[in-house]
């Protein structure tokens, strides 16, 4: 697991995003057990307290749950996972739209370009 | 303290074994030489004493050097031990070395002395017949060896408080001052000359244990003085090691 970390941004948020991506893309399936604080800290060479904070946040957002005595598990709620997908996509979308608008594209142009680009990537 | 002693011993073990081996080889050579050439007895005995002295000096220097190194080495200074244990571990090493050397001297001389023409073996037997003489000699020998080590260590400790390049000279000066001062005070208290010791009396062809008759407090006074000095030196070293010597 080699993640590129940006030391300018809070690490715990970066790990959170990484785990969320793993969940959305299916590398971590609903109900999967995730690595313990220690294991993850060791693998990523990151302070265990930072990992702890990550997990606490993920638990707060109900993405991860702790089963006492057993460990931490990805939520089995499909709706939750959909939510994460939409959230993360939402961020991407906002950035994209803003960027395109700065370049001078209007709404119709954006839709045309996106459709065209998606079709092209399907053929590859 | 025994753990510290173990590592002091190990640090010096190579030099110790080398010194003892060479020393014994030389003594053996001298003994053999004496069997071949009868007329250089005096020279042989002199050389034997010389070789033992050098050996003792080498070992003594090693102990002092060990103390100096230990004062400045991180792995020693980080240990959760009271300084008195560091000192004790080296004093113990000194005593062990003295005992070993004494045993070797006795063994070698048991073989060598009877061959020396001018040595009166009867005189020597008389000495060993008197237990009080033997014990006195032995104890004062050990006490002397320990005292001189402690005072040199004190001088080393004083020198170690300074970070300048010339601190060796500070140490040497300190040692000279300590010896001069203690000698002077001793003279003031107890008068000049040896007040207790062994005298070879020619009259009765034997050794006599001398004790002062009319000096201040007699022999016990001198002993008390020596003991107090030793305690003061140990106290000073402990203080310096705790508060003043830094890495």
């Amino acid at each position: 697991m080699a993640i590129e970390f940006d030391n300018n941004l809070p690490i715990y948020i970066q790990i959170m995003n990484y785990i969320k991506k793993q969940i959305i893309t299916g590398h971590l399936k609903p109900g999967d057990k995730i690595l313990s604080v220690r294991e993850l800290a060791s693998e990523l060479q990151i302070n265990p307290n930072t990992i702890q904070r990550t997990f606490q946040e993920l638990e707060r957002e109900l993405i991860v749950e702790t089963r006492r005595g057993l460990g931490r598990y990805v939520t089995s709620e499909e709706t939750k996972i959909m939510e994460i997908k939409k959230d993360m996509a939402g961020d991407l979308l906002d950035h994209f739209i803003q960027g395109m608008q700065e370049l001078g594209f209007d709404k119709d142009d954006i839709v045309k370009i996106v459709t065209h680009a998606v079709d092209e990537s399907k053929e590859e | 303290m025994l753990k510290l002693f173990k590592y002091n011993w190990l640090r010096n073990s190579t030099i110790f074994y080398a010194t003892i081996t060479v020393l014994l080889l030389l003594q053996a050579a001298l003994i053999i030489a004496d069997s071949y050439w009868e007329n250089i007895d005096g020279l042989i005995l002199g050389l034997s004493v010389f070789v033992f002295s050098i050996g003792a000096l080498i070992l003594f220097t090693q102990i002092c050097s060990t103390y100096n190194i230990n004062l400045k080495s991180y792995n020693r200074r980080l240990l959760p031990v009271a300084p008195i244990k560091e000192i004790g571990a080296l004093v113990l090493l000194q005593i062990i070395y003295v005992l070993i050397m004494t045993a070797l001297i006795v063994i070698v001389n048991l073989i060598l002395l009877p061959k020396i023409s001018f040595v009166d073996m009867e005189l020597i037997r008389n000495f060993f017949d008197s237990p009080s003489l033997v014990i006195f000699t032995f104890v004062s020998g050990i006490w002397f060896a320990v005292s001189i080590l402690v005072f040199i260590m004190l001088a080393i400790a004083i020198a170690a408080c300074f970070k300048t390049k010339n601190r060796v000279w500070i140490g040497i000066t300190a040692f000279i001052i300590i010896v001069a001062l203690t000698g002077y005070i001793s003279e003031l208290l107890f008068g000049a000359g040896v007040s207790a010791g062994i005298e070879l009396t020619t009259g009765e062809a034997g050794f006599k244990l001398l004790t002062p008759g009319d000096k201040l407090m007699g022999l016990s006074g001198e002993i008390a003085y020596d003991v107090i000095l030793m305690l003061l030196a140990l106290f000073a070293m402990t203080y310096l090691m705790n508060k003043k010597i830094e890495l």
């Binding site: 300018n8 302070n47 265990p48 | 190579t14 980080l78 240990l79």
Partner: protein, 233 residues
């Protein structure tokens, strides 16, 4: 909660110069703390005072509530920028020395670490390369079950492989009752393992803060912050 390490208005003077100038701070247990500063900023001196091998000119250093002394040395494991071994020793002698003299030495931990660091018991200490020597020092220091670990520049002048192993070892042996203080001026790899950093400059304490706070509030990495602060050095 009782701080594990506390500096109370500590001053250390060498002649007229203050190596440590009225420094006060606290470190709680369970933290990995970076003690940052350029060379000569006072951080080594601070560690040596906590280790009990240098003494403050004034002020107090407390470890687990007790003034620095024999009791605190028994719960403090310090890795200085110099050697922790005698030249005559082999690796096994160095381990034995620690085992004999420290009640909290964990020989199974040491064995694991020696394997992990690829060190041999029979190796002579004075034939080890600089990187291997660092690994041995680290093994000795971290094989104790101490409360306070202090590592003085553990990754300077060390090859990237050893550096990785050192960071691994620090994270591996972390536990909530102890704290590890690492002094360094090389931040890129290591800033991820810190909870907090303390910045010192010219003997004075500039800043003590949680690392993520700095990233959130100042929007920069510790490495960048460091470069800014010490730009003129």
């Amino acid at each position: 909660m009782k701080p594990l390490l506390e500096f109370r208005d500590v001053v250390k003077k060498y002649g007229a110069k203050s190596a440590v100038d009225h420094v006060s701070f606290q470190i709680q247990p369970g933290k990995i703390v970076g003690l940052l500063g350029s060379n000569g900023s006072g951080k080594s001196t601070m560690m040596k005072m906590a280790a009990g091998i240098t003494h403050p000119s004034s002020g107090q250093v407390l470890i687990d509530g007790t003034g620095v002394g024999i009791k605190t040395k028994a719960i403090t494991s310090f890795m200085p920028d110099s050697t922790l071994t005698d030249e005559w020793m082999r690796v096994k002698d160095a381990i034995a020395f620690y085992q004999d003299n420290y009640a909290d030495f964990d020989s199974s931990k040491a064995k694991d670490m020696l394997e992990f660091m690829k060190l041999n018991n029979q190796d002579r200490v004075n034939t080890l390369s600089k990187g291997m020597k660092e690994r041995l020092q680290l093994t000795l220091t971290l094989s104790r079950n101490a409360k306070l670990y202090m590592l003085d520049e553990p990754i300077g002048g060390v090859d990237p492989v050893a550096r990785g192993k050192i960071l691994d070892a620090i994270v591996e042996y972390y536990n909530e009752e102890s704290s590890i203080i690492v002094s360094t001026h090389l931040l890129q790899d290591i800033e991820r393992i810190f909870d907090e950093v303390i910045l010192v400059k010219n003997g004075k304490l500039l800043l003590q803060d949680e690392v993520e706070n700095i990233r959130i509030n100042k929007k920069k990495s510790i490495d960048e912050l460091f470069k800014e602060v010490y730009a003129e050095c």
